[in-house]
Each structure stands twice: as C-alpha cells, then as structure tokens.
C-alpha cells in the first residue's frame, strides 16, 4: 500500500490567531505556520496597544508622568509605580524614610500576590481548569479591597510617590492585611488541591516550553519565567531596593525549565510574598512617610490649610492700583469669576469665587491679596480690609501654596546625568532608563518591559509543540500587552 503522504496532498497551513482572542491576554496577534498539528513557526505581532508612553513621558515632568506607569501593567500597577519612583529617587539622589520603605515593600508584595493570582486564574482557564479561576478571583478581590483601604483606588493606584508614599497606612488596614496573611496559605493549598496532582494539568504543563538556563538568560528572560529554568536571578537580592535587604526570604527556582516548573515557582513565590508581608508588618517602624526634601517632593497639604480649606472665611481681592490688567488670572480662574477689560484693573465676583487660590498663584504683580474673614463682605469693605497687614499664618501658607503650584506645574530641576534602575515586578525585570539634561523633564525616558522581552521568546518556546500548547506557552510567560506595547 502506498504511504498516506502520497495519497493525500499535505501542505503547511497558515493560521491567524488574535488579536481579538480570549487566550492571548490582551491584543496579541500570532501567525502560526502549522504542519498538521505541529507548530513550524510562530510570528508574534505586537503594537496594538502602543500609546507612546515613552514619548509622553518626555513631554512632562517626572512628577506628572507617574500615573502613566499605572497604565502599562494594569494587573500590578503598584509595582510599576514603585519601580518608577525608585528610579526617579536614584536620579534625584534622595533617601526615602524607613517607614515608607516598609509600606512600599508591603504594597509591592501585595501586588505580586494579586498578579500571580490573576496569572494562575487565566492560565488555568486557558488550559481548561475552570474552577481555579473563581477561587483565585475571590482572593484577588480581597487584595483589591485592601488597596482601596490604603489609597481609594483598586486598579490604577498611583499610591507610591517620588520620595515615599502618598499617605500613611491605618491600623485598621494593617489588621485586615494580617488577617489576610493568616488565611492566605490555606487558600494556596486549595488551588493546589485542584490542579497540582491533576493528570490533565500535568499532561498539559510538564515538558511544555522547555528552555535551558543558559538559553533563558541569553533570551533576556527575567522573573519567575527565568527562575523556572534554575537561574536564581532576583533583583530583590541582587540590587536590593526599598526594604528587601531587611526581610528574610528565599527564592524558588526550578530545575527542568518547563511550564510546570514555572507554575511551581510562582506558587512558592506567593508563599514567600506572604511571609515578606508578615515580616514587614511586624517590623514596621514609626516615622514620616515622605522624604524631607522640599525641593523634590510633594509636601503635606495641611501646611497650606489656612487658605485652601473650604470652611475658612477668607476672600480674594484684586487691588486696583497694583493690577495691570494682563488677564492671567482671568484665564486661569476655573469658576470664571474674574472679569475686566484688557489693560484695565480686573475684579472678582465674590459670589462666584470658589476660594481655590488659582488666581493668587498666577498673579505676577502681587495685585491679589487674601482677606482673612472677608467672606460675604461687600467690595468696598474688602478694599478697606485689603490695605491692612496680613497675619503671619496666612503669609506663610500662601508662600507655601505658590511653591506647591510651581512644583506641580514646572517640576524641580534635576541634575544632569543618565541612570538605569531595575526593580523586580511580578512579571520580571522592569527597568527605567532616564537621561536628564538638567531640566525638569526627562530628556529620554525608556521603559524596559518584561512582557515585551517575554513575548519575543514565544517563537522559541512554541517551536515543535502542538497547536494547543501555544496557549499554555502564552500563559506561562505571563504577559500583559499593555506593558508589552507601552
């Protein structure tokens, strides 16, 4: 009998997968060249989520670009923020207070757990173990609720700031987090009961996407994806930042370098993260949460409370003699409460004024004055009061307000130089490369995204496997396309 190949005409098939595909974790497009069920070649196409974060970052000050980093890896936004802040602090040359370091470590490890839970949920769902998805989301929801307690946001948090964190944590939060860490190890056991000895899971993960240690390093893999191959490269140990040099933890590494080992690494990493959080809560020192560097950091808002607090009885008034009629305040006023013609003194409609002090900080001629206890008075009375000397408390607060305004609008001048700082985010190594030319904006901002590098490894991992294993390989490298495309 003739061989089958001769009877039927066989040829390679070209299959398009994505960009809108539920298993590609975003908008990743893969073109698969397949011979029967076997993959011959995989060509990934990325860039569908490209928003030009690097170009945008170069157009704003370091302080303003912080929220952009949330939008890269939206699954673990907290880690991205921390990575950005650590890099900018190194560039500024400022030291973060001890308490802020510990709080950041807690937040970073919470983000690692949340990320690995989402990874496990979707990875298992892709392979076919649907139950795990719901279990993982139960705990992830808990962490997101804890995020909400510290900063009010759940996904795009922007909680860490350059120089520390935005606000101190409450006792209530720490107690709730402690309860979580008590409970969480038993929850990990629950997931493992579902899949660890599951024969289908083992068949789908063991021996899939094997990559040796040398090759994995050569491909630039980082994080748990690399450690699954047995390389103990962990930036938390190599170049400790925040409080990682003060806590005791171990680094899980695999031996085979297949999908199963990478899965085990992440499961053990979650336990280590849980441990780190517990140690941090135990060791949490007292003290400030923002660095004492007024030039570079946002200072607490209560210093300018005397003039911006809504219950204060202050009023703003334009001195007729000093006003040149330049129109700066008129354009800046958010309530449109200022009126007047060009080159003639302006005036404020007191009933429309919000008391936000925007006009006060924009005026270059010091024509605007703050009248304490002047709310609800007539213009004549205000003009009379405006001539009186202003109390010292108000003068100090207003000086402070002007400084704050300049800080946010222009940003501090940064020493000239270039810097590359890497941090260990849940997905791998997140690096920021800044070139500063001495101005307030980065001359060059570069984001080294782990997902980008890992997505580049896909052709290597998938080659020779079956079509169904492409899904397992996309899952195991843990990519988020928002970060990949930036």
């Amino acid at each position: 009998m003739e061989p089958v190949e001769k009877i039927f005409d066989t040829r390679e098939l070209n299959v398009n997968m994505g960009p809108q595909h539920p298993a590609t974790h975003g908008v990743l497009r893969l073109v698969l060249d397949i011979d029967g069920e076997t993959i011959v070649k995989v060509t990934p196409y990325v860039g569908y989520l490209h928003r030009g974060i690097e170009k945008l970052g170069e157009s704003m000050s370091y302080f303003q670009a912080l929220p952009l980093t949330d939008r890269m890896d939206y699954v673990s936004a907290m880690s991205n923020n921390i990575g950005y802040c650590v890099a900018v602090e190194k560039l500024y040359g400022i030291e973060v207070p001890e308490r802020a370091k510990f709080i950041r470590t807690i937040a970073g490890e919470m983000s690692r757990i949340a990320n690995h839970l989402l990874w496990l949920a979707t990875h298992a769902l892709d392979i076919g173990a649907m139950t795990v998805f719901l279990y993982c989301f139960r705990e992830r929801e808990w962490i997101l609720d804890l995020y909400e307690m510290i900063c009010g946001a759940r996904l795009t948090v922007t909680y860490p700031r350059v120089g520390g964190v935005r606000n101190d944590v409450q006792q209530e939060f720490l107690e709730s987090l402690w309860k979580f860490t008590d409970e969480f190890p038993s929850r990990i056991l629950e997931y493992e009961t579902l899949i660890d000895q599951n024969r289908i899971w083992l068949l789908r993960t063991k021996g899939i996407g094997v990559i040796s240690a040398e090759e994995a390093v050569n491909w630039g893999m980082t994080g748990p994806t690399l450690r699954g191959s047995g390389v103990p490269y962990d930036i938390r140990k190599f170049m400790p930042y925040d409080a990682y040099d003060k806590v005791d933890f171990e680094v899980p590494i695999g031996t085979v370098g297949d999908t199963y080992d990478r899965y085990r690494c992440r499961m053990l990493e979650m336990r280590q993260s849980n441990n780190i959080i517990r140690q941090c809560i135990e060791k949490l020192p007292a003290g400030p949460v923002m660095a004492d560097a007024p030039k570079f950091t946002m200072q607490p808002k209560d210093k300018m409370m005397p003039i911006t607090h809504p219950t204060k009885q202050h009023a703003f008034f334009i001195k007729e003699k000093a006003c040149k009629g330049c129109g700066m305040c008129l354009r800046a006023c958010p309530a449109k409460a200022i009126f007047g013609e060009k080159k003639k003194p302006h005036a404020i409609k007191q009933d429309m004024c919000l008391g936000c002090a925007t006009c006060y900080v924009t005026c270059k001629f010091k024509a605007l004055v703050i009248v304490p206890a002047g709310k609800g008075l007539s213009d004549e009375k205000l003009a009379e009061l405006a001539e009186a000397p202003v109390p010292e408390e108000i003068t100090k607060a207003s000086e402070y307000l002007v400084r704050q305004f300049e800080f946010v609008k222009k940003g501090p001048k940064v020493p000239e130089g270039e810097i590359y700082v890497a941090t260990e985010v849940p997905k791998g190594e997140l690096g920021f490369y800044f070139v500063s030319d001495g101005s307030a904006k980065p001359y060059r901002m570069r984001v080294r995204a782990p997902s980008f590098v890992h997505a580049g490894c896909l052709p290597r991992l998938c080659a020779g496997h079956l079509v169904a294993d492409v899904i397992a390989n996309i899952g195991t490298i843990d990519i988020v396309l928002g970060e990949c495309d930036r």
């Binding site: 860039g47 630039g220 390389v231 962990d234 190599f238 130089g417 270039e418 290597r460």
Partner: protein, 193 residues
C-alpha cells in the same frame, strides 16, 4: 519535587565597574571615546565600528561573563551632541553580579550599527524597536521590520524632531483610510437583528 527554594545571598557586585571600563580601554584602545560616571553607574562611550567584538568580548570573557542583556535602547541628542544618536546597552552578569553600560555613537548621516542578536538572542525585539522608533538600522538582524508602529508608517516617533502629536490618522495614514473603506464595503454582509 522539582522546584526548590534557595537562599540567595545579598552580596555586592563582583568587579568594580571602573575596572571593567579600564579593561575595555586596554583591549580596544582606539575604540573607547570616554567613560562617564553618574550615581555609581559607569558608562563606556565607544565608537560603533567594532561594537560587536566589544560586546562579544564582554559576553565571552570568563572573568566578565556579561550573559544578561538587561536593556538595549537608543537616545537622540539632536543639536546637543556632535554625534546625534547613541545606542545604549545595559549589561549584567547573573554569575558575578556586576553591571556596565555601553553607549555606541551612531552618526546621523550613517545610522547603521551591527546587530548583537548572535551574542544575545533577546536583543532581537529590542533592536527592532530601536529601528522602529529611531530609524537606526542593525545590519545582520534576522528579522528587520517595524514592531510597534504599523509597517507602512512614515517617520520615527521617538526622534526629537518628531512632533508629540503625530499626523491626523484619517488624512495622512493610508492604512487607516483602507480600513474605513473596507468596513464600508463589508457593511452589506452584516447580520440583521
């Protein structure tokens, strides 16, 4: 179980980066232009002609062992420096834990440099991104295409003379008008109800 937990020591970096810079200077005396230092990070500025032998030396030397390419990117110094572009390599040794940064100067009139994919396979996508964003060509690259921007895009977005707000999509980019045209054509095949 195959996966084990290991205790990784918190020991400092292997060789002082200044010594590494000296080693490069000794080995390639005519290639090194300058050595810059900022916040304990050393960058070696080199010419682009023999960049691959330099990188190959850093990768293969048993005492240096830079096996991990952390990052490869470029920077555009328009009207700031004599040589317009710089390709930046951030290297790390996972064995000895030392780091170094290599900056290769690439002039504007000849934006070409050797590809280091044979040294580090992971450089593949980084170099494609560099080409996409700065228009620097990497000779010998196995898959030299744009990566993030559409393949028929004109201009290189991260160059300093490229505006922050790009062109209007519906006027200037033919790819977008094509999609609109095709969606109109295919509209008659849409499902009803």
């Amino acid at each position: 179980m195959a996966v084990t937990e290991v205790r990784v020591a918190l020991y400092p970096a292997g060789i002082d980066p200044k010594e590494i810079a000296e080693k490069i200077r000794e080995k390639f005396p005519d290639q090194v232009v300058d050595v810059a230092e900022f916040r304990d990070q050393i960058s070696v500025i080199v010419k682009k002609d023999r960049i691959i032998p330099i990188l190959r030396y850093l990768h293969d030397d048993p005492l240096l062992g830079f096996d991990h390419l952390q990052d490869l990117t470029a920077a555009d110094y328009l009207n700031k420096k004599d040589v317009r572009f710089e390709v930046v390599y951030n290297l790390l040794s996972t064995r000895y834990r030392h780091r170094i940064r290599i900056r290769a100067q690439v002039p504007e009139n000849d934006p070409k440099i050797g590809s280091c994919v044979p040294v580090w396979a992971g450089a593949n996508w980084h170099e494609r991104e560099c080409y996409d964003m700065f228009g620097i060509e990497f000779s010998g690259h196995p898959d030299h295409r744009r990566i993030l921007m559409p393949e028929d895009w004109e201009g290189y977005p991260l160059r300093k003379d490229y505006p922050l707000k790009g062109p209007e999509l519906d006027k200037d980019w033919p790819g977008f008008t094509d999609v609109l045209k095709r969606s109109k054509e295919l509209k008659e095949f849409e499902w009803e109800g």
